[in-house]
């Protein structure tokens, strides 16, 4: 692993869906796909992508320098190689013969523009904080780009596979059209209504994509989305509720695809407020999560037990040796008494915006009462939750989408000065480990560092993570080639280039 990373990207790696579909992919056919969001905020600008349907749309029309494999490692895409000796200065050699949908050839200048535009506040990029680590991106040859980082980061290849960093044409500011190098051309885009895509005959992967066309809709109402699948009006949907999974499995010709992801809903105990900053209170709450019950009743077993740290099993740096924290009302009671909080009353904020948090809060309320703590569940509307409630109460809930690398997750949500350091915890040792791990060349030591960070979060951070929530897709069985890329549903949003139709 270490050698491979030092060498940068190499071709090959695990193939998607191999073994599931031994038949050769067929060409042709049109499918209709329904995502979970649809609004006037729908966009063709990769930098502004906010929701799953946006990501899926962007992966249809654009390609990145790299793309994800099934284990979230990166493989070459528009960059034939992406290499670095010191993990600060990265050299990307671009694939030749790639053209945009308007016929213009891909140039290094397009890459420079696509990466640096995130730093311009006017772009309103969702990944500006990540892009801030690009000190300089320059054209260093007729076919070559050099990316200089502000500090070492071995994960750059994985970061660049993210949909926000897909490559657009130099100078593009108006995104009413999508001119990319992706597997499909955009023939029609109406925000809040539909996106229609047709095969890009000049796609840079030989023989792909397979489908003639895709119509991407957003059906925000989950019941309607599942009904549309079951009635044959759409052929692939994402964000299936675990409660609907049985309905889909019961239907002839339809299946559910579970993708075990790093998505979690977490309890936030602010470290700048009383009594939630008390380490005993934090431990008590973590002991009060009945994780087994959450997994079984809330998610019908479509979830994985978590251990109060954000790295999911399946990630290369997951620390399997960390003892699982059990549900233990006696120890919770002990810590509550030690904190002097036996018999106290405390409000907890939950919202449908953070998936499952209202039910989790009710469960906590029940178990906390047995341990001598009275929680008052304040259920607040999803509308405006992130701007008005999230991280603003001593005790509340958050929800974090999967991130491709451990570094990204820790940097965005757990570093002391991270913008979304949800519990506001400060741990110098953690920060030092995080920075050191980015530049560490020895893979065994790097793994050790990420392990230590998981222990620190598990023991001290004011964040309780009960389970990792699986992402569920429903699909028509005539749709083949669908697999899992655990960054999210719809095959990590990039189904479009992989699937084919046997109708």
């Amino acid at each position: 692993m270490g050698g491979m990373l030092a060498a940068g990207l190499t071709a090959g790696g695990p193939a998607f869906g191999a073994g599931q579909d031994p038949a050769l992919p067929q060409r042709g056919g049109r499918i209709r796909v329904a995502g979970m969001s649809s609004s006037t905020a729908d966009t063709l600008d990769p930098a502004k992508g906010a929701l799953s349907t946006d990501y899926a749309r962007h992966y249809m029309f654009y390609s990145g320098l790299t793309r994800y494999r099934a284990d979230l490692s990166a493989e070459p895409a528009l960059a034939e190689t992406l290499e670095s000796d010191d993990r600060i200065l990265w050299r990307a050699v671009l694939r030749t013969g790639v053209t945009f949908h308007d016929g213009k050839p891909l140039s290094p200048q397009d890459v420079v523009y696509s990466l640096m535009r995130h730093q311009d506040p006017a772009t309103a990029s969702k990944v500006r904080t990540i892009a801030d680590q690009f000190r300089r991106v320059t054209v260093s040859g007729s076919n070559e780009v050099t990316i200089e980082l502000t500090g070492p980061n071995a994960d750059l290849p994985a970061i660049l596979a993210d949909s926000h960093f897909l490559i657009v044409q130099d100078g593009t500011a108006d995104f009413r059209q999508a001119i990319g190098t992706g597997p499909y051309r955009c023939t029609s885009f109406q925000p809040g209504i539909a996106t229609i895509a047709a095969r890009n005959e000049n796609y840079w992967v030989e023989g792909r994509p397979y489908l003639d066309g895709i119509e991407l809709l957003g059906i925000p109402d989950e019941v309607s989305r599942v009904n549309a699948l079951l009635s044959g009006d759409v052929h692939l949907v994402n964000a299936v509720n675990p409660r609907s999974a049985r309905r889909i499995e019961a239907s002839l010709g339809h299946r559910v695809l579970e993708t075990k992801s790093g998505l979690y809903t977490n309890l936030i105990m602010r470290q700048d407020a009383l009594p939630t900053r008390d380490p005993d209170f934090v431990l008590a709450m973590k002991f009060l999560f009945n994780r087994e019950l959450v997994r079984r009743t809330l998610y019908r077993n479509y979830a994985t037990i978590a251990n109060d740290q954000p790295i999911p099993p399946g990630s290369p740096y997951y620390l399997a040796d960390l003892p699982q924290r059990p549900y233990d009302p006696d120890r919770a009671g002990f810590h509550l008494r030690k904190a002097g909080l036996a018999g106290a009353r405390l409000p907890v904020y939950a919202s449908p915006a953070a998936d499952g948090s209202v039910d989790m809060a009710s469960m906590l309320q029940e178990f906390a009462a047995q341990a001598g703590l009275h929680l008052a569940v304040n259920r607040v509307p999803a509308d405006g939750y992130w701007s008005t409630h999230w991280m603003k109460h001593p005790l509340g809930f958050g929800n974090t989408n999967p991130r491709p690398t451990a570094d990204m997750l820790f940097s965005l949500f757990y570093k002391s000065d991270a913008p979304w350091n949800e519990s506001g915890w400060r741990n110098e040792q953690f920060d030092q480990l995080l920075l050191a791990a980015r530049g560490e060349r020895d893979e065994a030591r790097r793994r050790q560092m990420y392990g230590d960070m998981q222990v620190l979060v598990h023991d001290h951070c004011g964040v309780g993570i009960p389970v990792f929530i699986s992402s569920l897709d429903g699909y028509d069985q005539r749709l083949k080639g669908l697999g899992s890329i655990p960054i999210g549903g719809l095959m990590g949003y990039s189904f479009a280039e992989h699937v084919w139709w046997e109708g």
Partner: protein
Amino acid sequence: MAHGSPRNRSGIAAAGRLILRRLGSALLTLLLVSLVVFTISALLPGDAAEETLGQSATPEAVAALRHQMGLDQPAHLRYVRWLGGMIKGDPGQSLVANMPVGQVIAGRLPNSLTLAGLTAAVAIPLALAIGILSALYRDTGLDRALNLMTLGMVAVPEFLVATIAVLVFSVTLRWLPSITVVREGIGWAEMLRGYAMPVMTLACVTVAQMARMTRAAVIDQLSRPYVEMALLKGLSPSRVVLVHVLPNAVAPIVNAMALSLSYLLGGAVIVETIFNYPGIASLMVNAVTSRDMPLLQACAMIFCVAYLLLMLAADVCAILANPRLRGQ
């Protein structure tokens, strides 16, 4: 005095005066509504910049986007600027969709009008027939059955009607599509199949009110002496109802229809959600959740104008149809 009878002319003059007066008050209403919508939506937590950035709203990012959207200016200034644009006929730029509000609405309004028009074409004749029939045969078995049916339709919420219809006709029988897809160049048969369930659901909700009102108005007229007179003269009951009773009963009926029709535009949000129909009601909900003020204002204005126009049309109809009001 060269054309028509004096009575007709005075009826038209009365209608003309009414229209003029109503137009004046409509402008004032619109102004007040826009002010109220603007004020109330300003009380909502968060603004368009925060909602757009969502979870990833860092203070600098929000500030930059606010500046870009012009949200860093004081509220009253934004309102005055919006009003100025509106007077010139420009509803402004959508903050979230990055295109003119007019263009966003142009993609949705025809859909809503089509749905409302089709529903009205089904619901109005049906409601009139049910209302008149149950009035003519009042207190018989037929009347009671029709009563039970209409009351039942009012009582069942539309999401239930729609969901059950989808389960039966789409998922189980597979006769009709579960979502209504609007596309250019779609055939008639395909279009009718797509609209069948949304129209049926909306008709269920609106028919009842109109039918009940028709029944009440017709029964009220049937007890009047002139009806007895007409019957004694030997006119057939159908002629009495259609020629003599209906024109007198038209005012409350048309009023109920106008109310129902205005509901079809703005109140169709549940049907639009279930059938994933891109209409203007869900657009407005969208505008609220994304805090897209210009778009929200434009939607509010459209609903308000539609309501006022329908009410005006109902009153004008009532004046022109009723011989006695015409004379006033």
